[in-house]
């Protein structure tokens, strides 16, 4: 194939392989534009380094004991034909620091938090669990359109978030209210989003529970499953580049949360592979809660959970007991360190939990699982109860404190709830904003037309419910 022909014929670089590299010099001149269309470059060809590896450097040496094929360089030759069977391998272990009785089981475990700090995190877990109960009921009463609870997954979220830096960047799926709470999302912040009032940073454009916070470095939750995962790889890549350009900025990682169901989407696999190959400092945190709406894990996958996949992508991986606050925290702390090593790399955590409640307010889970199954789980173990036992054993918590905490949390939630319900709706202006970064001339004209109409018929419209009334259109 003549090179000149390639550049003048129809664009074919994607379809046609380069000339076999054995006949190529290491530097491959590539015609970048045909002379007819060249306007900016003076030369029509440019010499760029070939990204292709020399075949000779990887070719199989005679009599070597190991594979030297480009795709697997550390594999020994074998004269026994054996297919690997996943069932012959033990399942990856699940790390625990504290068992369900609140007893420390990892002798090397040393709590790294003060009593106050532990109590604060316990308080966060309690808060989301009580908020969940109240908001679920509120939805049932028709006071908001939709809600999702995280019962059973409080430790996964609060525990992992507590090991991140506030500068780290977070992507969530939708059941991570514990992460938001731990990072400083206030009860009012939750309520403002749920009631889509003018204080909702999302300006009332999303379904309930699609929280987001620029201040807390949490990307806004997006409905299409698993799309946050490759984006997390990208955000981690951006952090890596930022550090390369300015090594004085503190190192940061991305934490990306997702369910085991979402891990069936192609995006999960794409995300892990691209993060591994690009060395992205991302901690992928799977909440394996046994269900994806009605789909049990048995129908979701056949391998050893989600963790086994990390190994396949060459990613450091751990499975952890998601009901164990301490284990989740310890594991995330270490994962964060690992992610910052070697110039950045991804880490995968699979936290084993159980989705105690219905998928959402639109779901009735007793249509596909027995009530006793849920009751058994609740009785056997629960992340809040487990941390409480640990705290009680340490003498920093008791029945009284528990009752007081629950009462005051409940009061605070109800206060934030009724406050948010009373807030004004977002300004009318927000109806026109953010479709594009700037108001386009067409949108401006529409906004002007609306303003003129409202000016003309002031008696017809009661705009009192909307933040700023008609004035929001004036700017």
């Amino acid at each position: 194939m003549k090179r000149i022909a390639r550049s003048t014929q129809r664009p074919s670089s994607l379809l046609r392989p380069l000339t076999p590299s054995t006949h190529q010099p290491r530097l491959v001149p590539i015609a970048i534009q045909s002379s007819k269309t060249t306007t900016t470059t003076t030369a029509t060809t440019q010499t760029v380094p070939s990204s292709r590896r020399h075949a000779s450097s990887l070719s199989q040496r005679p009599d070597s004991s190991h594979v030297m094929f480009p795709g697997a360089v550390k594999s020994a030759f074998s004269n026994s034909m054996t297919f690997e069977e996943p069932s012959k391998y033990d399942a990856l272990p699940t790390y625990r620091a504290v068992d369900q009785h609140g007893q420390v089981v990892d002798p090397s475990f040393k709590p790294d938090l003060s009593d106050e700090e532990v109590i604060k995190l316990y308080h966060d877990m309690l808060t989301v669990s009580i908020m969940d109960l109240i908001m679920f009921d509120a939805q049932r009463q028709g006071r908001l359109s939709f809600y999702m609870v995280s019962a059973g997954e409080e430790a996964v979220c609060v525990g992992s978030a507590s090991a991140l830096s506030s500068e780290d960047v977070v992507f969530c799926q939708y059941r991570e209210q514990g992460v938001f709470k731990q990072r400083g999302f206030t009860l009012s912040d939750f309520m403002n989003q749920l009631f889509a009032n003018h204080k909702d940073p999302g300006k009332g454009r999303n379904m309930p529970v699609h929280y987001g916070s620029k201040e807390l470095n949490i990307h806004t939750i997006s409905s299409p499953l698993a799309t946050q995962l490759p984006q997390a790889s990208g955000a981690a890549y951006a952090l890596k580049i930022q550090r390369m350009q300015n090594p004085t900025v503190p190192p940061r990682v991305v934490a990306a949360y997702f369910g085991e169901g979402a891990a069936s989407e192609g995006d999960f696999h794409a995300a892990l592979n691209i993060a591994a190959t690009r060395g992205c400092p991302a901690v992928f945190i799977c909440r394996n809660n046994g269900y994806a709406i009605s789909t049990p894990t048995l129908e979701q996958y056949r391998g050893d959970g989600i963790a086994s996949r990390g190994l396949g992508y060459g990613i450091d991986t751990i499975r952890v007991d998601g009901n164990d606050f301490w284990a989740v925290r310890e594991v995330t702390k270490r994962a964060r360190e690992l992610a910052l090593q070697d110039g950045g790399k991804p880490v995968l955590i699979e936290a084993m939990t159980y989705r105690v409640s219905h998928h959402s307010t639109s779901d009735d889970s007793f249509a596909y699982r027995a009530k006793v199954e849920v009751e058994d789980w609740k009785r056997r173990d629960n992340p809040i109860g487990r941390l409480r036992k640990w705290m009680e054993a340490k003498g920093i918590w008791d029945e009284n404190k528990e009752r007081e905490a629950r009462d005051s949390i409940r009061r605070e939630i109800l206060k934030a709830f009724s406050q948010a319900e009373k807030e004004k709706k977002p300004a009318i202006r927000t109806m026109f904003e953010d479709v594009y970064e700037e108001l386009t001339p067409e949108i401006k004209a529409q906004m002007k037309e609306l303003k003129e109409h409202l000016d003309q018929f002031p008696e017809e419209y009661d705009l009192g419910d909307f933040d700023g009334g008609k004035d929001s259109l004036a700017k």
């Binding site: 889509a196 009332g204 454009r205 379904m207 989407e265 419910d465």
Partner: protein, 379 residues
């Protein structure tokens, strides 16, 4: 309000001679509920008709085709154990077993690819999406594989597959869950696309889609699943199919042709009745049924009768189904038109979550009536 949100219609209305201020509704930001307005009753329904919801009609179509042809199977997220996210596949697992009614992991890309592969190997899969919004994860399989493999293989690999599920906006599920894909799929050579409105449409078109040897996209509508329609005796039979590519005159008229599809058919009929009551005009409502191929003959025949055209759809205005119909009308029926054709469409914005704004983002009966009246220079 609509005038601010519907640019295409807005431009057309400013061009019209009489500029009438819309009567300002006191319910400006709280439009009346649209529920219940679409029910259509046939007072003089012939005996033997039976009431069906659209959901039941779809369910019956699936059951009959599963029964009739062992090559047919149904697959998708939660279609079996859970009876489908919207219960369209209710009872099918019990009746046909788990080889014919198949739950999948949460991977649209995976099960769509699998279904296409099975179709290329001779089976006739019916691939359900929880909503067509999630089919975006697998659109490459639909557009590049299902639609094109027959052609690219030189005709040796037909792809008899049906993609179905709810399409368009629903209620309070925000922008990423509220899109109408008629124009997307309607633009792809190799695909056929149908969009049922009534229970008969639903049954007849879905059965036709399953039997058609080509890939067919069946765009249902979540808001229609629970709607009740009378089903004729003929349509209750298991040999009932509606030909793909043929529109249906749902209401005959001589003054204006409304070409529409899916849920907007019912809304247009309600608007047509109101226009008759108020102004004595007769509006013809043409239910497109099929987006691709489109029944150009029926559209032109109606224009020859009424000399006026309006399209009503819930898709976005730009490059939409309405745009296509108007272009065709101008290309093939220009000399018969007495007024510029108009489009009523969804608003050119990401669908708002706020209930009031959401309702204003899509055609309503009042809006259709209003624009028809303007087109007819009645107001």
């Amino acid at each position: 309000m609509s005038r601010y949100l519907r640019p295409a219609v807005r431009l057309a209305s400013t061009a019209s001679r009489v500029q009438v201020a819309r009567p300002a509704a006191p319910t400006f930001f709280k439009p009346a509920s649209v529920a219940g307005l679409q029910k259509r009753t046939y007072a003089d329904a012939p005996s033997g008709t039976k009431d069906y919801t659209v959901r039941d009609a779809l369910n019956e179509a699936l059951a009959e085709e599963l029964e009739a042809n062992p090559k047919v199977f149904v697959m998708g997220e939660e279609v079996a154990q859970y009876n489908g996210a919207y219960k369209v596949t209710k009872g099918l697992l019990d009746r046909f077993g788990d080889k014919r009614v198949i739950d999948t992991p949460i991977t649209e890309m995976g099960f769509t690819g699998l279904a296409v592969g099975a179709a290329l190997s001779g089976l006739h899969p019916v691939c359900e999406f929880m909503t067509f919004n999630f089919a975006m994860q697998s659109i490459d399989h639909i557009v590049n594989s299902a639609a094109k493999t027959l052609y690219m293989s030189g005709g040796i690999q037909p792809c008899n597959i049906t993609f179905r599920g709810p399409n368009g906006f629903a209620a309070g599920v925000a922008a990423q869950h509220s899109q109408d894909y008629s124009a997307w799929y309607g633009s792809v050579p190799g695909l056929k696309v149908v969009s049922p409105w009534s229970a008969e449409d639903a049954k007849g078109l879905l059965k036709a889609a399953i039997r058609d040897p080509n890939p067919v996209v069946v765009l249902e509508n979540e808001l229609m699943y629970g709607q009740v329609f009378p089903m004729s005796e003929a349509a209750q039979k298991d040999d009932f199919v509606i030909p793909i590519g043929k529109a249906k005159v749902e209401r005959a008229g001589k003054d204006l042709t409304i070409v529409t599809m899916s849920r907007c058919v019912g809304q247009s009929i309600v608007a047509a009745e109101a226009l008759k009551k108020k102004y004595g005009v007769e509006v013809e409502v043409l239910n497109l049924r099929s987006i691709k191929p489109i029944d150009l003959d029926a559209i032109i025949a109606s224009i020859k009768k009424t000399h006026r055209l309006m399209t009503v759809e819930s898709g976005f205005p730009a490059y939409g189904v309405g745009a296509e119909i108007v272009a065709l009308a101008v290309e093939y029926g220009f000399d018969y038109l007495d007024a510029p054709p108009q489009r009523v469409t969804g608003a050119d914005v990401p669908t708002p979550y706020a209930q009031g704004l959401e309702e204003m983002s899509f055609p309503t009966e009042a809006l259709i009536e209003n624009h028809a009246a303007k087109l007819l220079k009645l107001i």
